[in-house]
């Protein structure tokens, strides 16, 4: 559970870890019903076939970049982010 939480960038209290661990255990054991299902081997990502939808390589701009910048936390037009180490 701890490694799952770290992977998901969630800081959990000890109590939360216990509670979620129990929830996940319940749900995952319910999920094990999938083991009984026949495997079609078909791994389409969508429920209807979506193929060959392409966009032409043209530049277009609908929203002003300055407006987008103003909505973000910037310093000299660069977006501020947290420490890297």
């Amino acid at each position: 559970m701890k490694s799952v939480a770290r992977n998901a960038r969630l800081k959990l209290t000890e109590a939360e870890i216990r509670e979620f661990a129990k929830d996940l255990e319940d749900v995952l054991s319910y999920f094990s019903i999938l083991d009984k299902a026949p495997d079609t081997g078909k791994h389409d990502f969508n429920s209807v076939p979506v193929s060959n939808v392409l966009r032409e390589d043209e530049v277009s701009r609908e929203i002003n970049a300055e407006m987008l910048r103003d909505s973000m936390d910037t310093y000299q037009d660069m977006v501020r982010g947290p420490k890297l180490t």
């Binding site: 960038r9 060959n52 390589d57 701009r61 970049a65 987008l68 977006v79």
Partner: protein
Amino acid sequence: MKIGLEVHVQLPTKSKLFCSCSTSAEEPNSSICPTCLGFPGSRPSLNRRALEMGVEIARFLDCNIPEEVWFSRKTYFYPDLPKNFQITQYDSALGTDGCFIVKDKTIGIWRAHLEEDPGRIKRVGKSGEEVSLIDYNRSGIPLVEIVTAPDLSSPEEARIFLQELLVELRHIIGTTAADEQSVRVDANISMGSERVEVKNIQGLRNLEKALKFEASRQFKMLEAGMKVIRETRRYDEERKVTMSAREKETEEDYGYIGEPDLGTFSVGVLARSMSTTETPLRRAQRMAGHYALEFSKMRQIVLTSMPLADMFETLAQNVEPGIALAWTLGPISANWSSLLPRLDEQMRTDLASIITQVVNREITDSEARRRIGAIASGECPNDLSCAVEDELLGTIISAYIDEHPQVVKDYSANPKSANSVIGHVMQVAKGKYNSQEVVEAVKKEIEKRKN
């Protein structure tokens, strides 16, 4: 020593991989939109030209290309990644199991695939305490990632590999100098049993430097009886050293899933519809073999211009390849920037016949050079009648000097002795040539005869 590279090259499309933002932007955060910023509600759509370029590259590298490909989400958390997942191709590369030949050595290509570039982080602050400032102009620019087998055996070889690969890519997809400067490489290098990954090396020169440093670091450790730990490092351009990358400590589980928003793409059909053109270095290799000439000379020709290589091969039909080479790399190459814009069948024929005539001693060396120059400067229309007229000039001068050999002897002491020749020509040719031309031609002929 074993070196394998993961090369990331930006594709020269007009718009980004998944949105219509321009790929060229000057000011920071000026080419951005909700999609490349990952705003909630935004959605990707695939750039057709990027897909085509990716397939062209996979074909060029002799890869196996599947019938269908799709995209996947690679989830990890970093400030430069707007969605905290990168749309890439995980279990669906455009091409696998290809190869690329560098100086007669075959380097295995494991895969080539498309993915989006993250934003660019500028680190500010003291080392070890840096905060990030991010420019998202780069976010969403199409990248092709080319992964090699660990077949490279020296830092120099790695650099040459990348160099030659970039030459070929220039021809295939039109990468520019700017795209080449932004090439990024993750290199895996091992001297012994453990391999070290050096991430995010930018550019050719840094690649060789980083690998040289790392190889030397590993060598020293092994010499001292220490073990090289398997780890990820990054190259510090300023201090020219590799350093342990403390940031991405834990092995990230990327938890790949398919990207449902894009669907699948029939690249098999696309690949089969493409025609093959010969790339510069492959052509140089072929010509070197066919004409039994040095590869480096053939490379020089193709890198100047492919039509120059066409010109060379035309000449080589008519005269001995070595001579064709000399004339190609000599006067023709020297005048190439003037010749190329007006190059056509007639010009090619004219040039070829000039060389043939010089080989058959019908015209002199310097006459041939002059004619080539004349064609280049467009003084003379591209038909032989004009060249014949110029021959007349040469004939007049030669005839006179033959009759008056004293002129040549006197010339060293007194250059003015040339005036008699000049005067004669001007009179005989009745104003056909301007005085400048005549003066130069006379002087040239006298100089020649002196030697």
